[in-house]
């Protein structure tokens, strides 16, 4: 059973006051999220990430297409007992304290009083809010509200957690803590489906990612595959090579960057690496290291956004890697 499965999910929003038109926020999204994985939904602002999450949580309704969560249809609200959700830029009740709000969230999940008390205490402790448990939420900073939002998403110990921009509003320490928390949830076997436009977070956390742009899926796949297959060049580092050596190597290198005494040569073509090394050894150069220059998620992301503004079909991962290698 898949954690999340969508088929051709499309959402049009009506816009305009007098002359109603429709604006497509999501266009034929088909996704499959396996249980136990951390899945990242990436895309620039307005790409359709939040719309996707809101459709899955039944806060908005799809114009067409279908989706299942944990094998159940979206209209089955009882299935929400197994889900957690952190909305984007969350806002909670001003008049409640963090402890009261989490208790209320626990009540809505039908948790017993003793269980609620224990989980509220544990989550407040885990998210660094224990000292502020009785402070009204209106006095909380944005980062603290975000932590409360994460805590309420976890109060029912969900199997599947949807996090909409979970790092938003957090300081570097807070981001680190949330990253650790997501990894902890993964270690517990839970599925985490989160949206973000911060690629480094996705790179550190996700097993698989999907890239949305303009409501369309631009690419989807295993992050390790994307990064492994996307070797963009090889970096040869030499210790203080003479100008003569550099001149001999220059036909192979795309660029030479000096860092102190070290010269870093970026060689784009794989066959040229061996040739360059032979030349360097023959001329007595000191080779310090040889590193594959991997494509970062940012490179992949930008490539998908720039190259494919119109296509909606999910890419095969290997094809993406090969495509990138072929382009070199």
């Amino acid at each position: 059973m898949l954690a999340v499965e969508t088929h051709d999910l499309t959402k049009d929003y009506p816009v305009g006051f007098f002359r109603k038109r429709s604006k497509r926020a999501l266009d034929g999204l088909s996704l499959r999220v396996e249980p136990g994985e951390v899945f990242g939904l990436l895309g620039p602002n307005g790409a359709g990430k939040s719309t996707t999450l809101k459709i899955l949580l039944r806060l908005v309704f799809p114009t067409s297409g279908t989706a299942q969560i944990l094998g159940r249809e979206l209209h089955d609200v009882s299935m929400h007992a197994r889900l957690g959700y952190l909305p984007e830029n969350p806002y909670f009740y001003d008049h409640l304290s963090a402890g009261e709000f989490l208790n209320y969230a626990g009540e809505l999940f039908g948790l017993e009083a003793a269980v609620r008390k224990q989980r509220v205490e544990r989550l407040l402790e885990r998210l660094g809010l224990a000292a502020s448990r009785d402070v009204p939420l209106r006095k909380f900073s944005k980062g603290m509200v975000q932590r409360v939002g994460i805590a309420q998403a976890l109060i029912n110990e969900p199997e599947l957690i949807f996090l909409d921009e979970p790092m938003s509003g957090l300081d570097p320490l807070g981001r680190r803590e949330v990253r650790d928390l997501i990894l902890e949830l993964k270690a517990q076997g839970k599925t985490v489906f989160f949206s973000t436009h911060i690629l480094t977070d996705a790179e550190m956390l996700c097993d698989r990612v999907a890239i949305l742009n303009g409501g369309r899926l631009q690419g989807c796949g295993d992050l390790r595959e994307i990064l492994r297959l996307g070797v963009a060049a090889t970096e040869v580092v030499l210790d203080n090579p003479s100008p003569a050596i550099l001149k001999e190597l220059s036909p192979f290198a795309r660029s030479v960057v000096w860092t102190g005494e070290l010269a870093r040569l970026e060689i784009p073509e794989e066959p040229d690496v061996a040739r360059a090394l032979n030349v360097a050894l023959r001329l007595g150069a000191k080779i310090v290291s040889l590193n594959p220059v991997k494509m970062s998620l940012e490179d992949y992301f930008l490539a998908r956004i720039e190259d494919a503004p119109g296509t909606a079909s999910p890419d095969d991962l290997a094809a993406v890697g090969r495509e990138r290698r072929g382009a070199r």
Binding site: Y13, K54, L57, R58, L59, V60, F61, V77, S78, M79, H80, A81, L83, Y85, P87, N89, P90, Y91, F92, Y93, H95, L96, Y104, A105, E107, L108, F109, G110, G149, Q152, N156, F162
Partner: protein, 258 residues
């Protein structure tokens, strides 16, 4: 605890933490106190003045609370986006609406009880004693509560489809029209025009008839409300509230939260 009860208790907690509520109760109690003064300058009808003014205060301030809290019941949750974290839990939209309604009704019932207690203190101060006959005022207070139940239903319905300001205007207008429905129907019958008569008859049956709940004058003269009227008004309010809640739920079920 059921989810409806959780939402209701949360709504109650939210309402009682509104400072405006305490101001309104304080004003109501002050006005009831001032009724003693008016009574003392009205020779022979002190008690009637006190009961009339007391019940009017309870009704008007109850109405203000019902409208001003009621109009924000749903729209505030949407505007502040707190609705996201509630509906993403296993809470049916109907449960949310019913819980919101019952929560505000509980708030109003408790506030009305406080104002009624204040009224009896004022009555005791004036008469220097209280008798079982004075309990007849509770029948009028019960009718005020039924009116408030209808007003909250209206405010909640408008809160599902409109902005707080428009909701307040619509609810208040319907309350005024609802108090004049008997007169409107009489006017229709007097015009001699079949069309106007039919039109006013439709309004009479369609809109909530608040004038049926006005029993202040009767109880001020010590007359008890006949049991059939108590039953008929209770059933009317129950049926009307049921219709208003059903309409609110139907609208809310289709609502999207962008």
């Amino acid at each position: 605890m059921s989810r409806v009860a959780s939402v209701a208790l949360h709504t109650f907690k939210e309402s009682v933490r509104e400072r405006v509520l305490y101001n309104l109760i304080a004003f109501a109690l002050l006005l009831i106190g001032a009724a003693i003064l008016f009574g003392s300058i009205s020779v022979g009808v002190e008690e009637i003045i006190l009961i009339n003014l007391g019940l009017s205060s309870i009704s008007v301030f109850g109405l203000l609370m019902a409208i001003f809290i009621g109009i924000g019941l749903v729209s505030k949750e949407i505007e502040r986006r707190t609705i996201y974290s509630i509906l993403s839990k296993p809470v049916y939209r109907a449960e949310f609406i019913i819980g919101k309604y019952l929560g505000l009704l509980l708030t109003l019932a408790i506030n009305t009880a406080i104002m009624t207690a204040g009224f009896y203190v004022a009555l005791f101060y004036q008469k220097r004693s209280l008798s079982l006959d004075d309990l007849v005022v509770l029948e009028a207070v019960y009718f005020i509560l039924l009116q408030l139940a209808l007003v909250v239903g209206l405010a909640l319905l408008f809160s599902c489809i409109s902005t707080p300001i428009l909701s307040a205007v619509f609810t208040f207008c319907l309350y005024i029209i609802g108090n004049l429905l008997n007169d409107i129907r009489w006017f229709g019958q007097e015009t001699g025009s079949a069309l106007v008569e039919k039109g006013t008859a439709v309004l009479y049956y369609l809109l909530p008839n608040f004038s049926n709940f006005n029993a202040s004058a009767q109880v001020a003269h010590g007359e008890s409300i006949p049991p059939y009227l108590l039953l008929a008004n209770s059933l009317y309010a129950l049926l009307y509230v049921g219709i208003l809640l059903s309409a609110s739920i139907l609208i809310f079920e289709e609502r999207e939260f962008r």
